[in-house]
């Protein structure tokens, strides 16, 4: 058997064997599959009379998503290249007597797996897509495949750009400028389009701009958006597919004829990927920026346990996170955009979506990194004090995040001041609750695999959120404070805050009993 095919198949086989050996991972994957199947089957609440929103909005969103994903991946290529190879490939495959072209195809083939995994999140969107736009399973699959193809072609483009320009600063700058100019022209075009047709409504003007010929001719993201739009109307847009294939062929050809030793170019990316994997295994889910402005030095504050808080403030400043981290900001923008499309569902649907997203941002707090380094365990301070001080830095950020999201959302939905205020409070209470869930997992399962930890985290969050949800449901039918929204959000906050503090109190000796999670 070809040696590269052998490595590929062996990795796949051992991955499956590993699943059987570690039932926790198997359960987690089955749980995820179950969730996908559930969302595909139970998410469809349509009836014959259901009136759907204009599918032009859906195709516009897909095209915009594809273009943004493609540009973000390509942008990475200028500094890091594409993350196609691991360090074991670099150390074992690269020195082997194999043709670089074959190694490249091996990398591309493996990259498809990664792109597929990244696209899974699309499948979870079936519920609202089906109820809002009448999306069928086939259309959802087409959206998923379009996303996978975009990410894949973005990665190959990133690698090509890096390989061609890594040793030529001038070419790198020219290519980077070209990408920025194309992006700026597209944004300018969309802006002018919306401005011109604002009379029809900003939302429909924006959708028309994203569905326009100019947007659909934009490399990769636009073409695949066009293919998706055709699939919504039940046709196959062959030119879009051919353009994608031609793009791939062009990139592979460019790498092969460039006569560049691309092994050296991917080495740096492989090292970065490796360090990111190690960092993730150690619980550090937040990437440290490549360039850090040190600024003022010295803690200058803190004594005993609160030194951790002042240290976190410095780390946040240098990490470019004044109040919100980048992922929180991206999620905030996403939620605000989603609220434009989910207006009919009311604040409850948007709040549920935002809370689901919040699960992922809360898990990235600085305490997770702290728990992987020994200092927090060995410093001679009471464990509860160290725990509270390590959580302190997240509080202002959680409040600001709630305000940033729900004031615009409130305006979009036309909510009253009391509704917005209680919504912000409820959001903040969920931040506390999620942090508490994180603490429970670390307290009892700190040595468990990351996959099991995430699985347990989700389960625990369901249990912790239950009192607030039950109270809110009971109160909404028996009590009316200003409005139903105010009642529901207030009840959730009233339950979530004490539950969070109770968890914190019960886990107060966590640092005494937890195991360092190397």
């Amino acid at each position: 058997m070809n040696s590269l095919a052998y490595i590929y198949l062996m990795r796949l086989k051992n991955g499956i064997k590993e699943l059987i050996k570690k039932p926790a991972q198997l359960i987690y994957i089955l749980f995820l599959l179950g969730l996908i199947i559930f969302s595909l089957t139970a998410g469809d609440n349509r009836s014959a009379e259901t009136a759907f929103r204009d599918s032009a909005e859906l195709t516009a969103m897909a095209t915009a998503l594809y273009i943004v994903m493609f540009l973000m991946t390509v942008h990475n290529g200028f500094s890091k290249g594409g993350a196609m190879f691991t360090m074991s490939d670099v150390n074992l495959v690269f020195p082997a007597p194999l043709s670089p072209s074959r190694v490249l195809f091996y990398g591309l083939f493996r990259q498809i797996n990664t792109s597929l995994l990244l696209g899974l999140v699309i499948l979870f969107q079936y519920g609202w897509l089906s109820n809002t736009y009448g999306v069928s399973v086939m259309v959802l699959l087409s959206l998923f495949l379009g996303y996978v193809a975009t990410v894949f072609l973005g990665q190959v483009t990133a690698m090509t750009i890096y390989t061609l320009s890594s040793s030529d600063e001038g070419l790198r700058k020219r290519l980077h400028a070209l990408v920025w100019i194309l992006t700026a022209l597209l944004v300018l075009y969309a802006g002018l389009y919306v401005w011109q047709f604002a009379g029809d409504g900003i939302l429909s003007a924006a959708a028309a701009a994203a569905n326009s010929l100019v947007a659909r001719c934009f490399p990769v993201g636009g073409w695949l958006g066009w293919v998706f739009a055709a699939s919504v109307s039940g046709t196959i847009f062959i030119p879009g597919l051919l353009a994608g294939l031609a793009w791939l062929a062009l990139l592979v050809g460019l790498i092969n004829i460039s006569d560049r030793d691309w092994y050296e170019d991917v080495l740096k990316t492989a090292e970065l990927t490796q360090s990111a994997v190690v960092a993730q295994r150690k619980g550090n889910l937040e990437a440290v920026p490549a360039k850090v402005r040190i600024g003022r030095t010295g803690l200058n504050k803190g004594w005993g346990a609160d030194t951790f808080y002042y240290k976190h403030k410095i780390e946040n400043r240098r990490g470019g996170l004044f109040l919100l981290n980048r992922s929180s900001l991206i999620f905030a923008v996403l939620i605000i955009i989603m609220s434009l499309f989910m207006r009919e569902g009311g604040i409850a649907a948007i709040f549920a979506f935002a809370t689901y997203m919040q699960l992922f941002t809360t898990v990235m707090g600085r305490i997770n990194k702290e728990l992987t380094i020994h200092f927090i365990y060995v410093v001679p301070e009471p464990p509860f004090a160290k725990l509270v001080q390590s959580l302190r830095e997240m509080l202002p950020g959680a409040l600001i995040e709630a305000v940033i999201i729900f004031i615009p959302v409130g305006f979009i939905l036309g909510l009253g001041k009391a509704d917005i205020a209680t919504c912000v409070l409820a959001r903040f209470s969920f931040a506390l609750l999620f942090a508490a869930g994180n603490i429970i997992v670390e307290r009892f399962w700190s040595g468990a695999s990351k996959m099991l930890t995430i699985f347990l985290y989700f389960l625990i969050m369901v249990v912790l959120a239950a009192p607030g949800l039950i109270l809110a449901v009971l109160a909404s039918s028996n009590l009316m404070l200003i409005s139903e929204n105010v009642t529901v959000f207030l009840m959730m906050a009233i339950a979530n805050i004490p539950v969070s503090f109770l968890v914190l109190f019960l886990c107060r000796n966590m640092l005494q009993h937890a195991e360092l999670n190397y």
């Binding site: 440290v288 850090v292 040190i294 030095t297 010295g298 803690l299 803190g302 004594w303 005993g304 346990a305 030194t307 951790f308 002042y310 240290k311 410095i314 780390e315 240098r318 990490g319 992987t372 380094i373 020994h374 200092f375 365990y377 060995v378 410093v379 001679p380 301070e381 009471p382 040595g447 005494q512 009993h513 195991e515 360092l516 190397y518």
Partner: protein, 235 residues
């Protein structure tokens, strides 16, 4: 000063440390010597209070998880753990403040000794692995611990740092500290040790003392290979 009594640590069904007992008195250096996977790092982490275990560990009579014990302990981990976004100097300030210590100039001296003074404004992430290890050592020493545990301290260090490290061992011994050093490199422990425990499969296979009354006639190296290679043959 440091006393380990019947410590057992299991990871599921795997026994990493099996009923280990030993002690290190003030002014003594004890070595944990053994091949990879013998359980040296596990017992070190148990002493540092980073792992749960069965048995008892005390530092000057205090249970190792109490604040009194933590104040007396210095721990140098196997993998250098530093904060990516703190400068070298801030690491020492952080430890000093967390341990409620006024600045006595000890941190500056440590940085000079380990040739980190000119890197004091470098971020943790900008340091090489060897420099991170040196910083890790400085962090463990800045609060003047009385019991110091080192997990493979020489790995990744340059010759100058190794020389300083050995000098540090001797100084601390003379100053009355208790030192426990885990290593798998026999050459690195030279002759400054008082007791060496050879570890195999989570337990002590032999203990050799560095004084004329010791009953073991073999050298440390001979004893080590006699034990570890016998295990291989038996296996």
């Amino acid at each position: 000063m440091l006393e380990i009594e019947h410590v057992t640590k299991k990871y599921g069904k795997v026994v990493a440390n099996d009923d280990i007992s030993f002690k290190v008195d003030a002014g003594q250096i004890a070595i944990l010597l053994g091949p990879n996977g013998a359980g040296k790092s596990t017992i070190i982490k148990c002493i540092a209070g980073l792992l749960r275990f069965d048995g008892k560990i005390t530092i000057e009579g205090h249970n190792n998880k109490t604040l009194e014990a933590k104040k007396l302990l210095g721990y140098i981990p196997e993998t250098p753990s530093v904060y990516d976004l703190l400068t070298v100097e801030e690491h020492l300030e952080f430890i000093r403040r967390a341990y409620r210590m006024e600045d006595d100039g000890g941190g500056k001296q440590l940085l000079e000794r380990f040739e980190l003074a000119d890197k004091k404004n470098k971020l943790g992430k900008e340091l090489s692995k060897g420099m991170q290890q040196k910083l890790s050592i400085c962090c463990a020493m800045v609060h003047h611990p009385r019991v110091i545990i080192f997990d493979e301290p020489m790995v990744g260090l340059d010759p100058h740092a190794i020389k300083e490290m050995k000098a540090l061992f001797r100084e601390q011994k003379e100053a009355g500290a208790a030192l426990l050093i885990s290593t798998h490199m026999i050459d690195s422990v030279e002759d400054y040790w008082d007791a060496t425990h050879i570890m195999i499969n989570g337990g002590f296979a032999a203990t050799k003392y560095n004084h004329p009354d010791d009953l073991q006639t073999q050298s440390l190296e001979e004893l080590f290979f006699a034990i570890t290679e016998k295990g291989d043959v038996d296996h």
